[in-house]
Amino acid sequence: MNNIVKMFLNLIVIGALSGIILSGVFGVADPMIKANKERELKEAIFVVLPGAKDFKVLEKTVGQEKLIVYKGIDENGAPVGVAFKADGGGFQGNIGLMVGLETNYLKLRAIEVLEQLETPGLGDRIREEAFKDQFKGLEVKPKVEYIKYRKPEKPNQIQAITGATISSDAVVKNINRAVEKVVANFPQEEMTRAEAAPQAAPKEAGNGK
């Protein structure tokens, strides 16, 4: 009998202690982890929208899906472009992109790879500047295409990475799908409208929520 009480006490005390320790550590670490994630997001948005000093979050619910776009504005509040995430399956796992689009919905400004699990040395070359730079100023109408082994011939074409056609294809498809959704659901007027100029300390003003 005594032994059973002891077993209970053992586990209860250990469980309670570990709960206390974890809540303490979590209390300190969680704000830092959130700040890390936010900084990453902000950096990615500013990379794909050069010239942006701040951004505004626009949300829309379409059916089950929640669409979020980040409207980048310069120091006077004039829109410089719209950024949004584009996710989709690659060769091995999800490829998460941040895509920057001009407010007239005609050309891409830039893209950034947020996450990918592609083959190192092959598919993961989608992170290389040489590949990402191809998307700067690329036309998205009618849609982005890729071409293999040759230099792009049309203004909406990029050259696929040799040996990593599937990854290149996934990037292009992600972009097309996301661009299509944004264009269909966010009227262009919303993007071209000027916003209030960002506050003096743009570092803290990033979160529009």
Partner: protein
């Protein structure tokens, strides 16, 4: 101490029989646990169904005939891809021989590089490489093929996987871009503006086009690896081997037949989406694999039923990888995959021994 280590080494490299005998010894105990410890002589009575010819032919003679059978494909590769192709073949052969020599020297074994098996591995490995493949890559692949694929398993006869294909698989994983950077054969004019060429299978996989004339693929007038493009040269070599009695017709024809039948099903359902059986037979490494790799004596099953299972599953796998996999070509992995099952197939498809009874329970 030293001699104990190599006690398993056969005097003559007649690996197949030796391996089977090993298995038989085990099996005999399993079959009849009630029996007294089976004597060595009793287990020797159990013989494999085929191939019997191994007992009368010496390994060097077989191997040199295989080299002869590869000559048409070698000639075709030089004709289509120039002297660069010959250079690659020579580099692979020399590197394979050197690796074999080095391993046998280090392990203080008798040097047996003259038996020709390393020459074949080198030639076959070179046959699976594109003509522009760098020399250092060819050397690396050869060292891996002989070192890891063959000598680490114990040398000729003990290897589970076809060494040349293992070397090719290693190169494929090591240099995925270089192993798929093809060049057009010099007999084709169209290549001048393009940097790299696309094989018929790559076109079929990534661009949905399979309009390469079958005749070109039959003769070898397409992009591809050295020994893969010219179906006719490989068939000539294969027929020579068959004429000499070194290969069992079941293996190559069963493999090719499965590919043809299985791909024909898809082609019949939707000829616009899936290439024809003829395309599948003459594209990529199907011919080379069927005549020279599926038939590898060491890494294919010895029983008739086992051989049928081996080739049919491998053929289906090859077509499945080609049509639905991430890679354009599936011959290499289909054969390597089935190589792994050969010991299992040999064990479970063995014909019943005369007078054998099932072990009684209790």
């Amino acid at each position: 101490m030293e001699s104990l280590k190599f006690v398993r080494k056969p005097k003559r490299p007649l690996p197949q029989n030796n391996r089977i005998t090993d298995q038989r010894t085990l099996d005999a105990k399993e079959i009849n646990p009630n029996a007294e410890q089976p004597s060595q002589a009793a287990t020797r009575l159990i013989v494999s169904s085929s191939p019997h010819f191994l007992n009368t032919e010496s390994v060097p003679k077989i191997m040199h005939n295989v080299v002869t059978a590869l000559l048409p494909a070698t000639a075709a590769s030089v004709y289509f891809f120039g002297w660069r192709a010959l250079l690659l073949i020579i580099v692979c052969v020399v590197a394979c021989l050197a690796t074999e020599y080095a391993f046998q020297k280090i392990r203080k074994q008798p040097i047996k590089i003259h038996d020709g098996s390393a020459i074949i591995t080198g030639m076959l490995l070179a046959m699976t490489l594109p003509a522009g493949f760098p020399i250092f890559g060819a050397i690396l692949g050869s060292v891996f093929a002989i070192g890891v694929g063959k000598q680490l398993f114990g040398g000729l006869g003990y290897n589970i996987f076809n060494p040349a294909l293992l070397g090719r698989a290693f190169l494929m994983a090591t240099y995925p871009v270089l192993t798929t950077t093809w060049v057009w054969p010099r007999t084709m004019e169209k290549a001048i503006d393009a940097v790299t060429a696309a094989t018929p299978l790559v076109m079929a996989k990534f661009e949905g086009k399979f309009d390469v004339p079958i005749m070109d693929m039959f003769i070898g007038n397409t992009a591809g690896s050295l020994g893969e493009t010219s179906a006719i040269a490989i068939i000539l070599g294969g027929l020579y081997l068959r004429y000499k009695g070194y290969i069992n017709w079941k293996l190559p024809l069963g493999y090719l037949g499965t590919i043809a039948v299985f791909s024909a099903i898809f082609w019949y359902v939707n000829p616009a989406k899936y290439p024809s059986p003829l395309f599948h037979l003459f594209a990529g490494g199907a011919m080379l694999g069927a005549w020279f790799m599926v038939t590898d004596m060491v890494t294919s099953p010895v029983t008739s039923l086992g051989q049928w299972i081996f080739v049919i599953v491998a053929g289906i796998l090859a077509v499945v990888i080609r049509l639905f996999g991430g890679l354009p070509e599936g011959v290499m992995y289909s054969i390597l995959f089935m190589n792994a099952f050969v010991p299992l197939l040999n064990k479970h498809t063995r014909p019943k021994v005369f007078g054998e009874v099932k072990a009684q329970k209790g």
